[in-house]
């Protein structure tokens, strides 16, 4: 099958949706510019015209209201911000208006919008360009929140999100944009609300989402050589959360580590561990654990940022503790000779 970058998969999904449905609109600061939101919108304005693919004023809250209004009158707009943090200016419209609209009017009018947000990391971006705020959005009834970890899911989930009849927050991790996967060239859908087992195992379950899925997979693959059988569950959607998939895996393994893409406090991992302990406490062989970003704002300097983000070896330490294994992890996990504020050679920026 054909290989494609995550950012190109986003572009293809957007192109497909624009071609399929004349009511789809693409709005965002920089959408038609030479960089095209890291390549995810390049060429679309030339193909579909500036009334369907457009730049916008720096007015995040107003523009969110405006796309909500357009969605009430026949359109399916997709709004993009280059970092999650810009959406904080529009929390009023997202949380009070978009999320509640269908409920407030008792099902008479729905809000089919997608808000694409990018989680930053690396190259010293600091406290306001690298937050992973999925738990904020997932807290709100009426919103859907998706967070694909690979190019295949990114394309299929974006098409599903645009076709969904509700407001969907679509979160992309910047370090995933250059990852490559097998991606069909035709349009296809990945269902919202369905997690996926990406590594099968029987000793322990790692539940992860977004970029942390890559770290979890690396942990599982490297420990497999040491005879440890780890199951990795990629959530793909945060809300609705696939409770069944989580419970089924933990029922099988009896052990749970959650690799959170954000802060663990009051976050996605807190929710998952609650669900597991509430539902299948008796199946657990040991207390669940979680790992996520350090409990501080993200510092700019790489000297500190290196200790801010958990890596696969940090997940492995928890795995070994839970399974009471004595493995020389420094020998198993090869130390990269790359600076730790860039992901891998495939990533060539910009950030």
């Amino acid at each position: 099958m054909r290989e494609l970058k995550y950012s190109d998969a986003i572009l293809e999904a957007t192109d497909f949706s624009l071609a399929e449905d004349p009511s789809v609109l693409i709005v965002g600061l920089g959408v038609p510019d030479p960089k095209g939101i890291f390549g995810t919108t390049s060429g679309l304005q030339d193909k579909y015209g500036n009334h369907r693919v457009m730049d916008m004023p720096l007015a995040e809250n107003g523009m969110t209201g405006i796309i909500i209004g357009a969605s009430l009158n026949g359109f399916r707009p997709v709004l993009t911000h280059q970092r999650v943090e810009f959406a904080l200016l529009s929390i009023e419209q997202i949380v009070n208006q978009a999320a509640k609209w269908f409920y407030m009017n008792a099902g008479q009018q729905n809000v089919p919008i997608v808000i694409r947000l990018i989680v930053g990391r690396g190259w010293g971006q600091g406290a306001q360009h690298s937050q992973s705020l999925e738990s904020w959005f997932a807290h709100i009834p009426g919103l859907k929140v998706v967070m694909p970890s690979n190019a295949y899911d990114a394309k299929g989930l974006l098409i599903s999100s645009i076709e969904d009849n509700n407001p969907v927050i679509f979160l992309e991790h910047r370090w995933l944009h250059n990852t490559i996967d097998n991606v069909p060239s035709k349009g296809y859908r990945v269902p919202i609300g369905k997690a996926k087992v990406v590594r099968e195992g029987k000793d322990l379950t790692i539940v992860a989402h977004s970029y942390m899925v890559l770290e979890a997979i690396r942990c599982a693959d490297l420990l497999k050589a040491e005879g440890v059988s780890i199951e990795v569950l990629d959530l793909r959607s945060i809300r609705p959360l696939d409770n069944d998939a989580i419970l089924n895996s933990v029922k099988k393994t009896g052990r749970l580590v959650v690799a959170d893409n954000g802060w663990v406090n009051f976050g996605v991992s807190a929710e998952i561990i609650s669900i597991v302990t509430e539902s299948i406490f008796e199946k657990l062989l040991c207390a669940p654990e979680r790992i996520g970003m350090n409990n501080s704002p993200s510092p700019s300097t790489r000297a500190l940022a290196n200790n801010f983000y958990p890596r696969s070896i940090d997940i492995a330490k928890i795995v070994c503790k839970m399974l009471k294994l004595l493995i020389d992890l420094d020998a198993v996990f090869p130390k990269s000779n790359l600076p730790e504020d860039i992901p891998d050679p495939a990533f060539n920026g910009p950030f």
Partner: protein
């Protein structure tokens, strides 16, 4: 009720009497949601909506009863909504601050000040994209012009030449806070719109004839120029910000200010004028009042007799399939 004037008088009186009935029965504690009554401000809603087509869209904020009714919103559904009944316009999920009647083009009202402004601009932008000849009217207050989204919405409406009519009802107070403590002395609301390149009008919001003439001209401008327009109308709220009572005794308004505005009652000044011009008689006013009383009594009876929503409704309409 043939002439426009007679129609507008009927519509204003109907709104006044509905609001008075709500105020009268509110102490029964059966309408258990906040109500922001429009008494004293009826002329703006009626004078503007007189020129809107059924397919034109209107949106409003917390003080929305007059706009809803003037746009043609169903009275029974509105009263039932205030009573929290299953027959309410939002099945009791919205209350007074979330009125909706899609059949009459009243899309929504919300209590977060200013928040319907961009949404209304978006609805109007969609009309433009669809090459529809319909327009959107958004009612907002003086307080909303202090919100950031107000400016963001003016900019986009002007940038994209969106067919929207902004109607600012300046009643000089936001809850208890007077305009002077919120806005700089030389800040003119209409000028803010004009500086965004939007055609603006100002007028007496208690004079329904004047409101109607301005609205007619503004809508003609919107349709003729494919561009937005803005109207600022001065008016005054008679009762407390939220609730059925007068609260002038609290002393947050200047002494004599309310009396001055009571003399400018949009309803009685208009009926006096119509009587003087022989377009209305004291007898016909009594007849109109009887018609409206019957309709209101029926609406309240309907609301009171309607069932509450079934418990299953609690978890309905969170997501659309």
């Amino acid at each position: 009720m043939n002439s426009i004037s007679q129609k507008m008088y009927f519509a204003m009186l109907r709104i006044r009497m509905v609001e008075e009935k709500i105020a009268e029965l509110y102490s029964e504690q059966e309408m258990r949601c906040p109500v922001h009554l429009s008494i004293g401000q009826e002329a703006v809603a009626v004078g503007v909506c007189e020129h809107l087509d059924q397919k034109d869209i209107a949106m409003s904020a917390h003080r929305a009863h007059a706009h809803y009714l003037a746009k043609g919103g169903d009275l029974k559904s509105m009263v039932a909504e205030l009573y929290g009944k299953a027959t309410g316009c939002a099945m009791g999920k919205g209350g007074s601050m979330h009125l909706v009647d899609l059949n009459s083009g009243f899309f929504a009202a919300v209590p977060i000040v200013g928040s319907t402004i961009p949404i209304a601009v978006g609805v109007a932008w969609a009309f433009k994209l669809k090459k529809s000849s319909n327009i959107v009217t958004v009612f907002l207050g003086d307080g909303a012009t202090e919100e950031g989204v107000f400016f963001e919405s003016l900019d986009f409406a002007s940038l994209k030449n969106v067919p929207i009519l902004f109607v600012c009802e300046n009643n000089f107070y936001s809850v208890y806070s007077q305009l002077e403590v919120r806005q700089a002395p030389n800040r003119k609301i209409a000028d803010l719109a004009e500086s965004h390149g939007i055609k603006t009008y100002t007028g007496d919001g208690n004079n329904v004839t004047q409101v109607s003439e301005i609205a007619k001209e503004a809508i003609k401008y919107i349709k003729g120029n494919n561009a937005p327009a803005f109207i600022e109308l001065e008016t005054f709220r008679w009762l407390e910000h939220c609730g059925p009572n007068s609260d002038d005794e609290l002393g947050y308004r200047k002494k004599g200010e309310l009396d001055k505005w009571l003399k400018r009652d949009p309803l009685s000044t208009f009926s006096d004028l119509l009587i003087e011009k022989n377009q209305l008689s004291k007898n016909s006013i009594l007849e109109i009042k009887e018609i409206i009383t019957t309709e209101i009594d029926e609406a309240f009876k309907f609301a009171k007799q309607s069932p509450f929503p079934d418990l299953s409704v609690l978890n309905q309409h969170i997501y659309k399939n």
